[in-house]
Point group: C2
Chain length 185, copies 2
DNA sequence: TGTTACGTACAGTTTTTTCTGAACAAACTT
DNA sequence: AAGTTTGTTCAGAAAAAACTGTACGTAACA
């Protein structure tokens, strides 16, 4: 059985190589607001030759099907994987979105856009509250504090306006005119 | 005590306004790889008229001094707050970095640069492992799988090269030529 | 030099998040 | 229509993270 031993040895090496990459992805994926576990799932599907079913993933990752279900859903929401159909197969099949520019940029844009807009409206709401307080209060001290707060918030607001512009750069794809895609194809 | 009641009422209003903003910051700060709790701490120091000591923060946030210590350290590492000295005061004093462009962009750049470089070197290492395997293995099947992996990784690599270029845009400040700062001063 | 004030390391506790298996519902098969 | 197969919901278990108080080292003060 010498050659069989070699085969499993090489097979293990392949797995180890893949794991090297998967682990690193998982470690940094939180910047995209995705859990490490879902990151590993992404990596697993990434290397799969064929689209995978939940059962395939469950087996490959030695984790429950439930976790695969929730994990793949988060990747699906983030448009990092997509569902594919194959005739004769009843189970749902998933594969990774092949275009990294698309999948990763989209996640990034959505997360940041969302966060920025929320922060922005929080600023505006806070400013309104402070304006009201300045009008209403009879205490000079409070009025002054509120005014200082308003100034600080206005500076923060400027930053967020800028950030929104930056995000738009990515959203519209103009960023690719400035920093061209690197494609060796 | 009528006027005293009014004062505490207005004072509460001021706090509520500030809290509105702080809570939102805390909710989204994780995109900068900072814990919500440290985000709230940031917000607290942000609104403080004077630089704060650990004891001030502890009191203001009703949390242990230990937590303030670790929280402020993470903000310090991220250059979102800075230490200031005042003569006659032995305790460490902290205030927020006033320039949001500076503080938030820096955090963003550092986190992303770091993550991207790690991912990039993981890709390169994985590619090397795969090249070795292709050379060594006697099994056509494994060789083919490895070759497919290599192709996929090369595509990912292109994306990361691009991402590094994008990050450089922010690092060098060229982004401000493209998307100018919004300043109403 | 002794004393006090200050920040942080560490171990244990609490809180939050992640993961799992059982039960369920919808869709397919026969 | 009855019986499978498949994905998801939900409550509880396991794991991870955040928080706290005690204890300690260092630096300022007297």
């Amino acid at each position: 059985m010498r050659s069989n031993d070699n085969y499993s040895k090489d097979s293990t090496k392949l797995d180890e190589a893949r794991n090297r990459f998967i682990s690193e992805i998982a470690k940094n994926i939180h910047l995209y607001n995705i859990t490490p576990s879902a990151g590993r799932l992404y990596g697993t599907v990434f290397f799969s030759k064929e689209p995978m079913t939940l059962d395939d993933m469950s087996k490959a990752m030695a984790m429950s099907k439930t976790s695969m279900s929730t994990g793949i859903r988060s990747l699906l929401d983030a448009h990092m994987v997509e569902r594919v159909w194959e005739r004769g197969i009843r189970k749902d099949l998933y594969k990774v979105e092949g275009d990294w520019y698309k999948s990763f940029s989209n996640v990034f844009i959505n997360r940041w856009k969302n966060a920025t807009e929320l922060n922005m409206s929080a600023i505006q709401e806070t400013k309104e509250l402070l304006h009201e307080l300045i009008q209403e209060t009879e205490y000079e001290e409070i009025r002054n504090e509120a005014k200082e707060d308003l100034e600080k918030l206005t500076e923060a607001e400027d930053y967020y306006y800028w950030l929104i512009d930056v995000i738009a750069l990515f959203e519209t794809g103009k960023i690719f005119d400035i920093v061209p895609k690197r494609s060796r194809k």
